[in-house]
């Protein structure tokens, strides 16, 4: 597997010399030789300068992708007395038929994405519109909304876990705004609220990033379009619907796809806050893959689950390509 790749790999300086032209007639032979030498020099320099990145990407990205694919069909374990054995589709059959946690994890992952994608994209757009106004101090608000993005998701998860405790900040806030009518709940210990609680903090943490993406999209819209719309008597809503929204199409696709892929990869929040519980109500595809593949050392099975996740991401990326190609 690696050998076939090495053949194409320009990492070996001996192989890919450019094709030599037949020796030139004596008259302009000197000039042509110089030109050929220059071209060879350029090819050699190109290869030499690209090769560190090529070797590293091959070793730590391409090989793991192919290895993951191959291991999916084996019984590989991290430390195992048993020899590596080809098991065909056993891992996939196990996932789709006899592993209830896999099914629950897939369901949770899609539920999470189904809520997070529209909420975060919409909220991000709202924030972008708010900070795109020509009013004083608007940069300060951009910075503030972006602060959770630079805060590690590990820290954010710990912080919110503390706030979600039965006697924590969130419940005491709910208690005081409802004048004691509602006491809240143990958000993360309750199977029906745990995923929702994780959704809230996930949106809070990442929305600032997408606000900036929307903002850079908004700033590419020419001001004349708005002037023309105003002359035609369009109000705020009409301006948004007929100018802003259509002009944001490329940004929209980018934002939706990046949020979807990020949402499907949900892991850290689960690992820090709930470990998939209570009763699998917050387990996700990636969490389940890491749990079985690494913590339980079943590399083959974990690789199979990762492959399922990868295929989903691939399909979404292909949809994105299709959508962006339509435009051009």
């Amino acid at each position: 597997m690696t050998a076939t790749f090495r053949l194409d790999s320009p990492a070996d300086p001996a192989t890919p010399e450019p094709a030599r032209t037949p020796t030139a007639p004596a008259a302009d032979g000197k000039r042509r030789r110089a030109k050929n030498a220059a071209r060879r020099g350029e090819a050699r320099a190109g290869l030499a300068m690209a090769s560190p990145a090529i070797v590293l990407l091959l070793t730590f990205l391409i090989v793991p992708v192919l290895l993951g694919f191959a291991l999916s069909f084996t019984n590989a374990r991290l430390i195992s007395p048993e020899p590596l054995r080809f098991v065909g589709f056993d891992n996939f059959v196990r996932a789709f038929t006899i592993d209830p946690t896999f099914f629950r994890s897939a369901l949770n992952t899609f539920a999470f994405a189904a809520v997070v994608v529209p909420v975060q994209a919409g909220f991000g757009l709202f924030l972008a519109l708010m900070v795109n106004q020509k009013i004083r101090g608007v940069t300060a608000f951009r910075v503030i909304f972006f602060i959770p993005v630079v805060t590690s998701i590990v820290v954010v998860s710990i912080l919110w876990k503390f706030m979600y405790q039965p006697d924590g900040l969130v419940n005491s806030f709910i208690n005081s705004i409802t004048f004691g009518a509602w006491q809240g709940t143990a958000w993360l210990d309750n199977p029906s609220t745990a995923l929702f609680a994780i959704i809230v903090l996930s949106v809070w943490q990442a929305v600032g990033f997408h606000m900036l993406i929307w903002l850079s999209g908004l700033q590419t819209i020419p001001e004349e379009l708005y002037e023309a719309a105003r002359i035609d008597g369009a109000g705020t809503w009409r301006q948004f619907r007929d100018v802003t929204w259509p002009c944001l199409r490329p940004t929209r696709i980018f934002v939706l796809i990046t949020i979807t892929i990020a949402a499907l990869g949900l892991f850290v929040q689960i690992d820090v806050m709930t470990q998939g519980g209570p009763i699998d109500s917050t387990s996700t595809l990636v969490y389940h893959a890491v749990l079985t593949g690494y913590r339980q050392q079943q590399i083959g099975y974990g690789s199979a689950l990762s492959l399922v996740f990868f295929v989903i991401v691939l399909v979404i990326a292909l949809i994105q390509r299709h959508l962006t190609r339509d435009k051009d």
Binding site: A43, G46, M130, F146, W204, L215, P250, G265, V290
Partner: protein, 297 residues
């Protein structure tokens, strides 16, 4: 008289905008304010302050005891140093390796260039989560050279080392892509002129292209700095040795028995503060980096 009505409505709109913006700012800041404030209070006071405004104010028995306790409980200094080392190495090596590749791919003609560029762009969509499990298996089987008692020894397995935290993240397809995009906007006539003066390609890269590409380097540095500092999934898998742990994994110490929330808040404050300071100092560059990452839709 005619101008007053629209102006008044404009005024009203502005007031509303500010009200909404301030409300949102509170929503985005309150957890962090709560964290920093709580890190200064003893556990008993954190819990008693929680039901009111005092939760967000540094009042009452405010001191740095929690920070002292953190240093007693875990080797924080070591963790911070590990994270710093790993982050600096990933960002520093990454700038060199990825910019050279970007240069070769955007300004030099060589066989295989198209293939490499195609593969680099194709790999942009591979999320790290999908390769994490096979990558652990892979690095556990990679050969490594060690110096032991003055002799070079050959060993198998990269687990529990600095290199396993650094090397896999040095080359980055997105960084290569950003560099090559940026470099291709610099006129190639500069290269030709330098060639005539007898400069080699590496000299052109180092003396002409790199000095002209400050914004590209800043963008890549910022976009790789954050994930490197915040790494969690990978180090939990490959680093068990306490002396090699980065800050995010060092957290696990606090949940072993009854969590002491004051100390936890002190620890999370300590690992958040450096990033916040860097962000606030370079916020303009941060904002344009993120914008640049989304430009290519």
């Amino acid at each position: 008289m005619r101008g007053t009505r629209p102006e008044a409505s404009e005024q009203r709109r502005r007031v509303w905008s500010y009200l909404v913006l301030v409300g949102l700012a509170v929503f985005f800041l309150f957890p962090l304010v709560f964290m920093f404030v709580s890190s200064l209070k003893p556990d008993s006071q954190i819990l008693s302050d929680i039901s009111g405004w005092r939760a967000f104010l540094p009042v009452g028995d405010v001191n740095l005891d929690n920070y002292g306790a953190v240093f007693d409980r875990v080797p924080v200094g070591r963790f911070l140093l590990n994270s710093l080392l790993v982050t600096v190495a990933i960002v520093g090596l990454g700038l060199v390796v990825n910019s050279m590749a970007g240069f070769a791919l955007s300004r030099l003609r060589w066989r295989g260039r198209g293939l490499v560029l195609g593969v680099v762009i194709a790999t942009l969509i591979v999320p790290f989560e999908t390769i994490a499990v096979p990558l652990v298996y892979w690095v556990a089987h990679l050969p490594t050279l060690l110096f032991q008692d003055g002799a070079l020894v050959y060993d198998i397995g990269w687990l529990n080392s600095y290199q396993v935290q650094i090397i896999p993240f040095v080359a980055n397809a997105f960084s290569v892509f950003l560099f090559s995009q940026y470099f291709s906007t610099i006129p190639t006539s500069l290269d030709e002129a330098a060639r005539i003066d007898g400069a080699g390609w590496f000299t052109i890269y180092r003396r002409i292209v790199v000095p002209l590409s400050g914004p590209a380097f800043a963008t890549v540095a910022i976009l790789t700095f954050l994930p490197a500092w915040n790494q969690y999934l990978w180090p939990t898998m490959v680093v068990q040795d306490e002396t090699l742990r980065p800050v995010m994994v060092g957290m696990q110490y606090f949940f072993q028995d009854n969590p002491a929330w004051g100390e936890i808040m002190a620890y999370t404050s300590m690992i958040t503060l450096p990033v916040l300071v860097v962000f606030l100092a370079f916020q303009r560059a941060f904002v344009s980096s993120v914008a640049a990452s989304g430009v290519k839709g």
